[in-house]
């Protein structure tokens, strides 16, 4: 009887290798990938023209195709909010609830294998690779709190963990499992060579925006400005796009940094008042706030002027477009870059 495993596929090398190790042992493997809304891969590359040299693809899909397995992509955006907002095991260095996240995803995978009569779960976890979630002490916590217990197999570091059910039952051979530890990637890269994997994603800084200091600062600012810890998908998507400046507590500006971002922001012009330069070339700006006054629009136009390379004392006109589509021209003296206060930038170290 061929045993069946569900592999968590992130799109990176480790999960690809873990799934491949199971395929090599004759296991039927299918992949599962969870979309939280905070994924890095794909989105930044899709939005920013400067990243056009990078592959625009979903790496989990690509990995599944290389392995010749089915992939199930699951939208968990709404359910995942409880993980981000109330992590039982707390946050990492920023707003990254890595341990709760791993437990949540393996719990979802465990529900899936029960529903679809699969035998066990496979992950690409490596002891010591992540400071918050991939430590020897957290491995049993994840197995227990997810409910997967001994049906959770980590092929890449199994030699340092107690035998799991699939090993004890002989569904897989323990001596063919691996003993990788730490942050070095040498072992994985060597194993990839033996499997003849030549192209694989190597995400810099992890695969989740919540591990990014600037992104976490923008999320914290969102919660502070709305007076509640909550979010919708559009909120967290917009935090990935553009420069975010808060010149006053009741509104912020989202300023496109390049063509791709401007095009993306244009899609939100019915949800936000927006502004574009009328007399110069420059970015699109969304104005995110309530009860905006003429002074606020004037200030926003001056800030926009700074990003349009206006000459000193040059007149600058912005086209303000309200959410209902009505237009208004605003002629202002544009700001110089020294007029932009550093604390307006919503980024690490800056909180209102």
């Amino acid at each position: 009887m061929q045993r069946k495993a569900l592999a968590l596929i992130s799109g990176g090398l480790d999960s690809m290798l873990a799934a491949k190790c199971m395929l090599e042992q004759g296991i039927h493997v299918e992949g599962i990938n969870f979309f939280t809304g905070f994924c890095v891969e794909g989105h930044t590359h899709a939005l920013r023209s400067k990243d056009k040299a990078k592959q625009k693809r979903n790496n989990a899909l690509w990995v599944a195709e290389q392995l010749g397995i089915q992939l199930h992509i699951i939208d968990i955006v709404d359910e995942y909010k409880s993980v981000v907002l109330n992590p039982r095991f707390g946050y990492g260095a920023h707003l990254n609830p890595c341990l709760d996240c791993k437990i949540f995803m393996i719990r979802k995978a465990n529900d899936w294998i029960k529903e679809h009569h699969f035998d066990f779960i496979v992950t690409g976890e490596v002891i010591g690779q992540r400071p918050k979630s991939q430590k020897k002490s957290t491995m049993p916590i994840i197995a227990q709190h997810s409910g997967a217990t001994d049906r959770l197999v980590r092929p890449l570091c199994a030699q340092f963990l107690p035998p799991t059910l699939p090993e004890r039952e002989g569904w897989i051979q323990r001596d063919k499992l691996l003993g990788f530890t730490g942050r070095s990637r040498k072992g994985q890269i060597a194993l990839a060579k033996t499997f003849q994997f030549e192209d694989y994603a190597q995400p810099a800084g992890g695969c989740c925006f919540l591990t990014n200091e600037n992104y976490s600062a923008k999320l914290a600012d969102l919660w502070q400005s709305q007076g509640a810890r909550s979010y919708e998908l559009d909120d967290i998507m917009l935090l990935k796009v553009g420069r975010h400046l808060r010149p006053a507590p009741h509104f912020k500006l989202i300023i496109g940094r390049e063509k791709g971002e401007n095009q993306y922001l244009q899609g939100y012009r019915k949800e936000f008042d927006s502004m574009m330069p009328a007399t110069h070339m420059g970015p699109l700006v969304l104005m995110d706030g309530q009860n905006l006054t003429p002074q606020d629009y004037h200030l926003a136009a001056q800030i926009l002027g700074r990003y349009c390379n206006c000459l000193p004392d040059e007149s600058f006109t912005a086209e303000l477009r309200f959410k209902d589509g009505t237009l208004q021209a605003l002629t202002v003296n544009p700001f110089d870059k020294t007029d932009i206060l550093p604390q307006w930038y919503i980024e690490k170290g800056n909180r209102l």
């Binding site: 989105h43 590359h45 899709a46 625009k56 693809r57 979903n58 899909l61 199930h72 993306y264």
Partner: protein, 84 residues
């Protein structure tokens, strides 16, 4: 045969694939789906997902900033589809 429109403009990967996956699960074999995307990543992802599931891409067209796919649901591996 029925033709369905799936407008996923503005959505970024993998949401276009998830929306297509969810719609295809509700459709009979032979149904056609016209998918409109703006994420350039869909150039790879929609065909990759269709190859994985055994569905056919009948056409791919670029119209200004939009990418239009015409997808036909095939009978192949229908059991697998049910558990997406």
């Amino acid at each position: 045969m029925s033709e369905h429109l799936l407008d996923v403009k503005r959505l970024l990967c993998p949401m276009p694939v998830i929306k297509l996956q969810n719609l295809m699960n509700t459709l009979p074999t032979g149904a056609l789906v016209h998918v409109i995307c703006t994420d350039p990543g869909t150039h790879h992802d929609i065909p990759a997902w269709c190859r994985m599931r055994g569905h056919s891409i009948l056409s791919i067209e670029e119209k200004e900033e939009e990418i239009h796919f015409m997808v036909r649901k095939e009978h192949v591996n229908s059991q697998r589809d049910k558990i997406c």
